[in-house]
């Protein structure tokens, strides 16, 4: 029995959205007494915007979350009504899963999981103030007067800090439409020395799916294969609900242009900066006047509702304009508006005030994750939530934090970008943000990260064994493919011709044939002798995918691995904490200021700060060499509390 008082927790997570759920589950699963404080239990894990999980860059994040023992992938698998693999005709780095979720099913499964997790307590209430003493978090006070003591706190408040929803020139205080914002917490954060900024985000209108005209739109069905996000559960085939694709018309653009003066972007009723990468239709027409049309994806919000989401028509123009925009879009002429689109403006925590562990530099034991750190998207939120929860738990246990490197995971790229470069608009993940995207593929997420998840206690022995077995099977299969040879024959020539590739002039190994982009793994099996085919049958989908990627891209992959190795020497080189940048000669004043303010932990991090040039880095490197020779410590030596967890897996293909 726990002898502590009812209101004493190891970790308290504030917020029950996609970041908060992951953070709370991770901390509780790591054995800590954890509370999740939410404004409204009925709205836990709500998908307030897009009813979808995944996509290019984002799908990789979800796979990584899953590989580390997070919940988003599994939960999506339970709730999806459509799933597909994107970019199957392109390179493996940009292949990704995307699923349409039944929003309410998604909430219900997440809620059920939270309530069934031992050591996790769900509390309805509004956080009013942090309890900080000696720059260390002690707990929280709730608006209703309850006090929760906590050794670590994870803030995952999404858009609720001083939230305001806006349409046209109208606005009211809300974290989401109809829901009360968190009004008191911002002041407490500022008092603790945490810098806040103001962002805005927006959501498109929803319409009644019975009033669309599919004959004027392109059908976007799901994939027929057995796909799923999670590594740990078997895909279950189920009926899938289609999406539709249409485009705005010149008349749509006229309507927007004619009413732009009514847009909150123009009228100034929104002061925060909005996302460039998920722009409103107003913004798209301002920024791209030459474009004749913009795509609009019509997506179901669930299997038991007729509501559909209009991806691409995000707007906070007045409602009558929204209705005109919809009516001038082919296929939506008779569409009935159900929920008007709107913008939400909120306080975010300037992420440069965070360490790579997502811990506040101002308050020890205070972590933050998700949209409140200036990101957008459920996957970005969940990824940070998971890392915030893990690091809060490690902090409580007195262990060094888990910091994923940029060559190890998109999660590493995400957090490093946030903390080092900061955000001037809500941050969204793209594959182009990663230097080593051939390594950070969705198909090898478990291989990259499951060992770490296991070391944390988030991945079971059996799960890890499954990953290792897949690895062994892949190595064996790869070897087998090299040893098997296929002879030229009329039969093989016919098969290859049907695939649009040339016949064999001499015997080739199966591995060589698989290198041809036209030949899939299944095609290859058809070319093999039945006895060999049997040896390669029943390989898990991931193994097959990795074999194909390896056959085709091995050269590139090896090159990236070599590059990573070269970079790692400088990248992971630690900068001693107490370094006084102002005494260094040959560094620009701007770089001195930025380095002094942001205090990067490694040379790699320093190199990504805007305003710090490669020349500055060379000077810094020289200085570190000198320090090392002088034996003053620092340099390559890990300090206590510095990120130096053993990484139990290889970061390879």
């Amino acid at each position: 029995m726990d002898v502590r008082g009812e209101n004493c927790y190891d970790v308290v997570v504030v917020g029950g959205g996609h970041a908060g759920c992951e953070a709370a589950l991770a901390a509780a699963r790591m054995g800590l007494r954890t509370a999740l404080v939410t404004l409204n239990i009925d709205k836990i894990a709500l998908m307030p915007c897009n009813p979808a999980v995944g996509g290019v860059g984002k799908g990789q994040l979800t796979r990584e979350i899953d590989a580390l023992g997070g919940e988003q992938g599994r939960n999506t698998d339970r709730a999806f009504i459509q799933i597909k693999m994107l970019n199957t005709s392109k390179g493996p780095a940009v292949r990704a899963l995307r699923a349409q979720a039944d929003k309410r099913l998604y909430e219900d499964w997440m809620k059920a999981t939270l309530f069934r997790t031992p050591g996790l307590y769900i509390l309805q209430g509004e956080a009013a103030a942090l309890d900080v003493s000696r720059e260390t978090i002690q707990g929280l006070r709730l608006v209703d007067g309850r006090r929760l003591s906590a050794r670590a706190v994870v803030l995952a408040t999404g858009t609720f800090l001083r939230g305001k929803v806006v349409v046209g020139d109208r606005a009211y205080a809300a974290g989401r439409v109809g829901e009360l914002p968190a009004t008191e917490l911002s002041a407490s954060l500022e008092a603790a020395g945490i810098e806040l900024g103001r962002f805005q985000s927006a959501t498109p209108p929803r319409i009644d799916g019975r009033t669309i005209d599919p004959s004027k739109m392109q059908l976007q069905p799901g994939d027929s294969g057995d796909l799923c996000f999670s590594h740990w559960e078997k895909p279950r085939r189920r009926s899938q609900v289609p999406c539709y694709l249409t485009y705005t018309s010149p008349r749509t653009h006229e309507v927007v242009a004619r009413n732009l003066h009514l847009s909150p972007l123009k009228s100034g009723s929104v002061s925060g900066r909005g996302p460039r990468y998920c722009p409103s239709i107003d913004r798209k027409i301002i920024n791209f006047p030459e474009r004749e049309r913009h795509p609009v994806f019509v997506e179901p919000e669930g299997g038991r509702t007729y509501e559909m989401y209009l991806q691409g028509l995000t707007t906070s123009l007045p409602v009558f304009v929204q209705e005109e925009i919809i009516r001038t879009t082919p296929g939506l002429e008779r569409a009935r508006l159900v929920r008007p689109g709107y913008a939400v403006e909120y306080d975010y925590i300037v992420p440069q005030g965070l360490t790579l562990a997502l811990e506040s530099k101002a308050v020890r034991g205070l972590f933050s994750a998700g949209q409140v750190n200036g990101t957008s998207g459920y996957e970005e939120a969940a990824a940070q939530g998971l890392m915030g929860g893990i690091n809060a738990a490690l902090y409580v246990k007195g262990e060094p934090p888990l910091i994923l490197r940029r060559d190890q995971a998109y999660i590493g790229v995400l957090i490093d970008d946030l903390v080092t470069k900061g955000v001037d608009e809500p941050y969204r993940m793209f594959t182009s943000r990663a230097e080593y995207r051939l390594i950070l593929r969705h198909d090898n997420a478990a291989e990259r990260l499951a060992g770490i998840g296991h070391a944390l206690g988030l991945i079971s022995e059996e799960q890890l064994a499954q990953v290792q077995e897949n690895q062994t099977r892949m190595e064996e299969a790869a070897e087998l493919l090299t040893s098997l040879s296929v002879r030229p024959s009329e039969e093989t020539a016919a098969v290859l011709a049907a695939l649009g590739t040339t016949p064999l002039s001499e015997a080739q190994s199966a591995a060589q044939i698989l290198r041809r982009p036209q030949v899939s793994f299944d095609d290859l099996l058809a070319l093999l002798e039945p006895v060999d085919r049997d040896k390669l049958a029943d390989l898990p989908r991931e193994v097959v995918e990795q074999l194909a990627v390896r056959a085709q891209y091995d050269g590139y992959i090896q090159r990236q691995l070599a590059e990573i190795k070269r970079h790692q020497a400088t990248e992971s080189r630690r900068i001693p904490e107490g370094i006084d940048y102002h005494t260094l000669e040959g560094i620009t004043i701007e770089a001195k200021d930025k380095l002094s303010r942001l205090r990067p932990a490694t040379l790699g991090q320093a190199s990504r700060i805007a305003g710090v040039s490669p020349a500055d880095i060379s000077v810094l490197l020289l200085h570190l060499h000198r320090l090392e020779r002088a034996g003053e410590g620092g340099g390559g030596m890990p300090e206590s509390g510095a990120p130096d967890r053993p990484i139990p897996t290889t970061s390879g293909a």
Binding site: L39, W109, Y121, R210, V338
Partner: protein, 388 residues
């Protein structure tokens, strides 16, 4: 011919009467909208946030003693409540409902009626346009939302629950909200008060929710088995009497898609347990006990997915173990005074008020007032206009 405003178009093409604007998409608003639709009246059902349409807000107890019986509800609506109801083996006149599941199916049901158009919006003003709506053929009421949208209809039904100046009192603090965490309809209350509508104050107690590793420890409590009212149901369409309602239309491309119900499904047909103990204090709350005339502390499951327990407010301070997930609180609000039994408001033609906003307390009372008002609205429209 005058061009119809977008808000008016659509519904009235298929239905003779309407649209009637129902403000509030909770228990009473949904019941009213469904009853109107079943009478052939088109409806615009406006909810502040459509993510919890039809959510029974104040706990999982459906009291059936003294109040209206489930039979007063339209068939499909009754089915929704019965499918997610458990009845005590001792025959006491109450049911325990899965609030979330009821809400999921209430929304599904509301959406299934082509006569009902759901609309998300926080209503800030209702105005009578002075025209005798039904008789004159033009819109009689205008409803304005916080986003500046104006919806026009031939009548308006106010079903905002405890939203008029709704305040949650918890731990000595007073927070906004007729429902926990939700924006109140203060602007609308002000607008109506300015127009001369009279209000009175009410307060009701909402019990705590607790999460427990096992069963609650209620001293001196009696265990009562709760059995599902519909242990064998298959789907909404297969089982019930729809009272002549139109068949559910399908979405293009959505035919034959079977979406699981989620975590509710696992325990849908399982027996549950209720714990009945003596009431701690008669001053603890206005909540009535499940057994007629005898106030009892009752602890019942609140939702299959979360596994929380609901502790009725008369139990006093919770000492039965576990952790309080949602603290007990009281909700105070203004409710409309002087509404006629059918929900109409003398002196306010075209406006009706139903549910808690009209002073109802229990879910059945709320829904029945919605159904009654639907009849009254329909009669008024039909007698005034013949047809529009």
């Amino acid at each position: 011919m005058e061009r119809k405003s977008p808000s008016q178009a659509g519904a009235s093409e298929e239905y003779g009467l309407g649209p009637v604007i129902v403000v509030g998409a909770g228990v009473s608003g949904c019941a009213c909208a469904i009853a109107l639709a079943e009478r052939g009246v088109s409806v615009i059902l406006v909810g502040g946030a459509l993510d919890n349409v039809g959510l029974p807000s104040h706990g999982p107890l459906l009291h059936l003693d003294g109040g209206p019986a489930l039979e007063v509800l339209p068939g499909r609506l009754r089915d929704v409540w019965e499918r997610w109801s458990w009845e005590p083996a001792d025959g006491s006149p109450y049911r325990v409902i899965d609030r979330r599941a009821v809400s999921l199916e209430m929304k599904q049901l509301v959406e299934a009626y082509t006569a009902i158009r759901l609309r998300q919006g926080l209503v800030t003003a209702v105005r009578s346009t002075g025209k005798e709506g039904a008789a004159g053929g033009g819109p009689a009421v205008e409803v304005e939302t916080a986003f500046g949208e104006v919806l026009k209809g031939v009548a308006c039904v106010l079903a905002v629950g405890l939203g008029f100046h709704g305040r949650v009192r918890v731990g000595g603090q007073i927070l906004e909200g007729g429902r926990y965490g939700e924006v109140s309809a203060d602007a609308l209350a002000q607008c109506l008060a300015d127009g001369g509508l009279c209000f009175r104050q009410v307060e009701r107690a909402v019990g705590a929710r607790v999460a427990l590793p096992g069963e609650p420890d209620v001293s001196g409590a009696r265990r009562v088995v709760l059995r599902p009212v519909r242990p064998t149901f298959v789907t909404a369409e297969e089982e019930c009497d729809h009272g002549g309602a139109p068949p559910m239309p399908a979405v293009p491309g959505r035919e034959g898609v079977d979406v699981p119900l989620g975590p509710h499904e696992e325990r849908r047909t399982a027996a549950l347990l209720a714990f009945l103990g003596p009431a701690a204090s008669s001053a603890a709350g206005s909540e009535t006990a499940p057994t007629a005339g005898d106030r009892k502390c009752v602890v019942v499951p609140d939702g299959l997915a979360t596994g929380e327990w609901y502790v009725a407010s008369c139990c006093g301070e919770w000492r039965g173990g576990g952790v309080i997930t949602r603290p007990a609180h009281r909700v105070s609000a203004s409710v409309v005074a002087g509404a006629a039994p059918d929900g109409s408001l003398p002196g306010f033609p075209g406006i009706w008020v139903v549910g808690q906003a009209a002073g109802a307390v229990e879910y059945m009372e709320s829904m029945e007032s919605g159904v009654r008002a639907a009849a009254s609205v329909t009669n008024a429209l039909a007698s005034g206009a013949g047809e529009v």
